[in-house]
Amino acid sequence: MSSRRTLAPYLLLIPGLAPIIVLMTLVIGMAVSQSVTWTDVSGKVSLSLEAWRVTFESDQFWRAFLYSARIGTLGAILSVAFAYPVALWLRRPFAGSDLVSALIKAPILVHGLVAAFLYVNFVSFQGFLNVALVGLGLAARPIRMQNDPYAIGVVVLQVWKNMPLAFLILSGSVRAISDDVLNAARDLGAGTFGRLRRVVLPLTLRSLQAALIIIFIGAAGDYTFQAVAGPTSLNSMAQFMVRMETDNGLQGVSLAAVVAVMLMGLSLCGSILLAGLMQFLVKRAGR
């Protein structure tokens, strides 16, 4: 009877967990198996690490890897950095706070591709921003901002698109901190920064980590923003994966699979690093 009782909750989890585990296993398994199966032009298939060797020897791959890691990290950190103070500010309702909150969440409704085209139009040579800068006398002639080599445009789009997501995650946990807990800290001598460091940040650490991880994974694997607004001299990992698949004939599948496995590895390692870094910083700040 007791073993049945113990088993029952696990059985109830199966409908939810099983599809996740099956799909994850299939995706990872297929990507890994394809990455080690080298197919040559004759259609001969053999187990091989050739695709890994070719990919790892490619400078373009490593540039794409570092580029995606950089965009993912910057996108995640900046989105959270912008969303966190707003979430704190909107913690207690005030006149107009619902409107501000709704405006912050509005970018969720705009598709990434649409946002990217809007941004490109906005910063293009004849776009609104350049016209305004010249018209206001702030610039003598239009400035080239479209597809900038530092990927500022991509980071801006990532932050614009992901900040609402970070805000949604963070605002819930910030609001969950009771006034009494903050008042108790205040009553015991903690000023604004003391309360932030020693109460608010530790109590919202899990949400901060969740927001960073979710945004990092999305931003590191971005294709849309990069393809429309990114630098033309660089590829993101997703872009590089597609290029490998289309430019290399039959071997393309294996090469793309290697990039896919590396992208998943980047997501995993980057998430762990960011979450760990955040935990370290919060604990250090709380000391």
Binding site: S178, D180, V181, N183, A184, A185, R186, D187, L188, G189, A190, G191, G194, R198, V199, P202, L203
Partner: protein, 370 residues
């Protein structure tokens, strides 16, 4: 040890939220080492007053002085107060030791001094074995003691308690109440204690401040408040009271004797304080009446009333009777007598009994009948 120097003084504190007057010219003071209770029903302003003392809400007018210093413009983190919250408000991510040491860390105590203080306070509240636990791993009573230890650790000038026992069960409440009072006496800290439980207020306080609708109705020692309530609200709120409209028909002020007509019958009242008007409210407590036996009635002459019992409730140590002059109409009065006492076990609903109320047991309230 209570000293004459005031540790806390509240003068004409007033606060308004839109149309709601939360506090209206409230004044009281607490001497060093004294435990003052703010007592009143929900919404009377007692918690608001406590939060104003802590600095969480600014007053519209009036002042709060702690150790002679005006607190106007001083934020809570710089006031010499520490509060025990109704919800405990423990920091869930910190261990018991870190919770207790939170305020000490803010005061930048050295590591060894802080550890020593935390251990000392934890021992006082019997939490030495739980120092490494998180609040979620503690019982309600233990969490309450952590909150108390956390506030005590910073050795504040004034300790503020916001209904700290309301989340505990009855037995634990009695135990923690006794612990708080004994610690307060031993440590000698000044405390302001908010409660709506009159038994708690009477049991713990040096001074009780009874509040209603943002106004102080009466303040005094627990016994004074109970024995000499100022008005109908205080008489009714503190314990159970029989309140009657009375008309003074004869008076002998020299001897403090008054003859009054009441719905209970004619009564002789002995009072040091004369009635405020010829038509005045008169109060007596349920335990002030004594059920008298048939053979006694002949020898008694004053304040003897024959009443019919309407209901009888056995409360273990007490028997609570509701009785009136007729069977069901007219006013009724509460009479409480010891369960084993004379007459209590013999009377049942419908029976007629004779009660005696000694003249000094009646109190005139400072409230005229209008």
């Amino acid at each position: 040890m209570v000293s004459d120097a005031p540790a806390l003084r509240v003068e004409n504190a007033s606060l308004r939220y839109d149309r709601f007057q939360a506090l209206n010219a409230v004044s009281f003071s607490a001497r060093k080492g004294e435990l003052v209770t703010l007592l009143g029903p929900s919404g009377c302003g007692k918690t608001t007053l406590l939060r104003a003392i802590a600095g969480f809400v600014p007053l519209d007018s009036g002042r709060v002085e702690i150790e002679g210093q005006d607190m106007a413009g001083i934020p809570p983190e710089r006031r010499d107060t520490a509060m025990c919250f109704q919800s405990y408000a423990l920091f869930p991510h910190l261990t018991v030791a870190d919770n207790i040491g939170f305020g000490l860390r803010q005061k930048r105590l050295s590591g060894s001094a802080m550890t020593a203080r935390v251990e000392e306070v934890a021992a006082q509240v019997r939490l030495s074995a739980q120092l490494e636990r998180l609040p979620a791993q503690l019982s309600g009573g233990q969490q309450q003691r952590v909150a108390l230890a956390r506030a005590m650790a910073v050795r504040p000038g004034v300790m503020l308690f916001d209904e700290p026992l309301s989340n505990l069960d009855a037995k634990l409440r009695d135990q923690v109440r006794a612990e708080i009072r004994s610690l307060q006496r031993a440590q000698g800290f000044t405390a302001v204690y908010v409660t709506h439980d009159q038994a708690e207020a009477l049991a713990m306080s040096d001074l009780v401040v009874v509040m209603r609708a943002g106004v102080v109705e009466q303040m005094g020692a627990p016994e004074d408040i109970y024995r000499r309530p100022a008005n109908r609200f205080v008489a009714d709120f503190i314990g159970t009271a029989n309140i009657m409209a009375a008309k003074v028909v004869a008076e002998d002020r020299t001897n403090g004797l008054y003859k009054v007509a009441t719905p209970l019958g004619e009564a002789v009242v002995r009072s040091d304080v004369p009635p405020v008007a010829p038509h005045v409210y008169l109060c007596w407590r349920p335990e002030d009446a004594r059920i008298v036996s048939h053979h006694e009635t002949g020898s008694l002459q004053t304040n003897i009333y024959r009443l019919q019992v309407r209901s009888r409730t056995y409360l273990g140590n007490l028997v609570d009777l509701e009785a009136g002059r007729g069977e069901s109409d007219g006013e009724s009065w509460r009479i409480q007598t010891h369960g084993l006492g004379h007459g209590a076990s013999a009377v049942n609903p419908g029976d007629t009994m004779t009660i005696e109320i000694a003249p000094e047991r009646f109190r005139f309230l400072n409230e005229a009948v209008t």
